[in-house]
Symmetry: C2
Subunit: 343 residues, 2 copies
């Protein structure tokens, strides 16, 4: 079964290749009836225009790259879903690549994408100076929309206002009477740990609540699932009741959910004994052991805006850089409650 090309369609319909091309690209300089005839014959011959050839000739692929660490965290997979949907609305297909948060892999991926495979990239980049340099370089070739923001990064960004989000959570906890609030997160440099930690410190400071150093708990291994929450909880148990945190501000929903499981296994009752908050508002949070209080910007909006930004960049070559910050919303559920008087 020989591949059928535009030439075959041209011959079969007695027109030139150019005309067939016109027929397929809904252009105005072709008579309606010849267009219909050509399209008809093309369908009969099962002709599908070759996209490599088209990409070569037009210099664009009508495809956007999506680059994220993985899809194991529902927050990311939800967002990718909405990015893909928005992309398709603009007739853009999508190329997906997972970096595992490894910088050399990210580099390989970006180079591969910048080869004409995609017209632009939406990425949750690794955090490192090297990464930033590289992103800036790629950004001179094809537009990049980053879903993080940091010093020196020169591309468009669309992010959630992490500082505000953290503040919302903390103020909620403080409203509930909590004063000893712990912060649980992976070690920086990871996705906005800095921002959330700073917001944590500042918010507590501004309310003249002193946070204790040992309330800040970092761990390298959160992302890999082997982290031992049990140990963490045990160390909590060893603290005198009057010094124990009464609430824990977890870095994200996944960590919060794991934490809750460990806490309940250790005999704590959530939220009676201890309040726990998450971050990202993943849909699973509602189905968890204790419906999770969380905070996040709409991932639907995030995806839409990212694609809109990219789409604009692709149309108007010299669009100026945009840095968009979405306002997060607090979702109060059952994992937080008034601080108990005993503590």
């Amino acid at each position: 079964m020989k591949k059928v090309s535009i030439e075959d369609i041209a011959q079969a319909s007695g027109v030139s290749r150019g005309t067939v091309s016109r027929a397929f690209n809904q252009r105005s300089d072709i008579k309606a009836e010849t267009r219909d005839k050509v399209l008809d014959i093309a369908r009969k011959l099962n002709y599908i225009p070759n996209s490599s050839a088209r990409g070569l000739a037009k210099g664009c692929s009508e495809c956007v790259g999506i680059v994220v660490p993985d899809l194991l965290n529902p927050f990311l997979s939800e967002m990718v879903t909405y990015i893909e949907r928005s992309a398709r609305k603009h007739n853009l297909s999508t190329s997906l690549a997972l970096t595992d948060d490894e910088i050399t892999l990210q580099e390989r991926i970006l180079i591969s994408m910048a080869s004409g495979k995609v017209d632009g990239i939406i990425i949750t980049p690794c955090e490192s100076d090297e990464s930033i340099k590289f992103l800036n370089w790629i950004n001179t070739r094809i537009p990049i929309i980053a879903l993080k923001q940091f010093e020196g990064l020169e591309c468009d960004t669309v992010i959630c206002n992490d500082t505000l989000a953290s503040k919302l959570v903390l103020e909620h906890l403080i409203d509930l009477g909590h004063r000893r609030i712990a912060f649980l997160s992976p070690e920086a440099p990871v996705f906005s740990v800095e921002q959330r930690l700073n917001a944590y410190k500042r918010t507590l400071n501004s309310l003249e609540i002193e946070y204790e150093k040992h309330f800040i708990c970092h761990s390298k291994t959160f992302d890999k699932e082997e982290f031992d929450f049990t140990k963490l909880v045990k160390s909590l148990l060893q603290m005198p009741v009057g010094e124990r945190p009464t609430a824990i501000f977890a870095y994200d929903d996944i960590i919060a959910l794991n934490l809750i499981v460990a806490l309940e296994n250790a005999g704590f009752s959530i939220p009676r004994d201890i309040s726990v908050t998450g971050f990202d508002n993943i849909s699973m949070g509602k189905l968890s052991r204790v419906p999770l209080t969380s905070v996040a910007a709409s991932s639907t909006r995030l995806g839409e805006i990212a694609i809109d930004l990219l789409h604009n960049k692709l149309k108007n070559e010299n669009e100026k850089v945009a840095n968009i910050t979405l306002i997060p919303k607090l979702f109060i559920r059952n994992s937080t409650a008034q601080v108990s008087l005993i503590c």
Copy 2:
């Protein structure tokens, strides 16, 4: 900043285009030093070979398509993660497209992909005769690996043995003393509802347990999140205790988790009052309100095998069709227990 092409590299290094091509494709018919020189100059000039041109010339894209309904169900997003990882191991990039389980959208996507964008496709297809016909047609152009199996589908498949999986779950429940077991699923035609329902009927029959018609509960709207589990549970409450199901075999983990929330809200205790099982063994199942008993084949393996199959098909043109069935495993957690004597 003019785009730099292979021609520029050729001139800059005083060789022909052919030689530059050789340098970039690690071929043997080039002297090591000229290769190094060319590669060096290419790097200095920030040259990235154009993949459209390469695709056109070679007739392949070194890219595989992944087509699934969405990534909102962790089962799918986990699997896509593993597919992407395996693909990258073979130096294949991936193109992602979401169908929302809509057949016309799936059709558009497949056509777009069969235009040379990808060399092969891994898909969780919509269920309909039309869809099958179309898949078979596309499969004559580029190899398709389907993650479902049905009559008339002529492409490779790799699936979990649903019948066996259902049997494992049901036998587990029966071992625990359950006799009144309900089956809760979306309405067919959806991903292997038939298989699981049939397995349900057969297993119960073979053990001479009669299943009641009203224990089989289908609903259209499970996939959309608006399904009213509360109503379902209410109807359960209206049944006399002695006739109520003591266990519910849910179609998948998401449904099981939603169900558990609704049941507990209605005052049931899981698993004391009623046992619930899921399907897919999503990682969130461990973090749920009640750690979920579930059954599934390894999604890692599924992804790996799908890519391996595709990879073979791409190498050996006329590889014969393979239909691979993975053995599922039962994961017993806390959502199932011995049937309580009161019931």
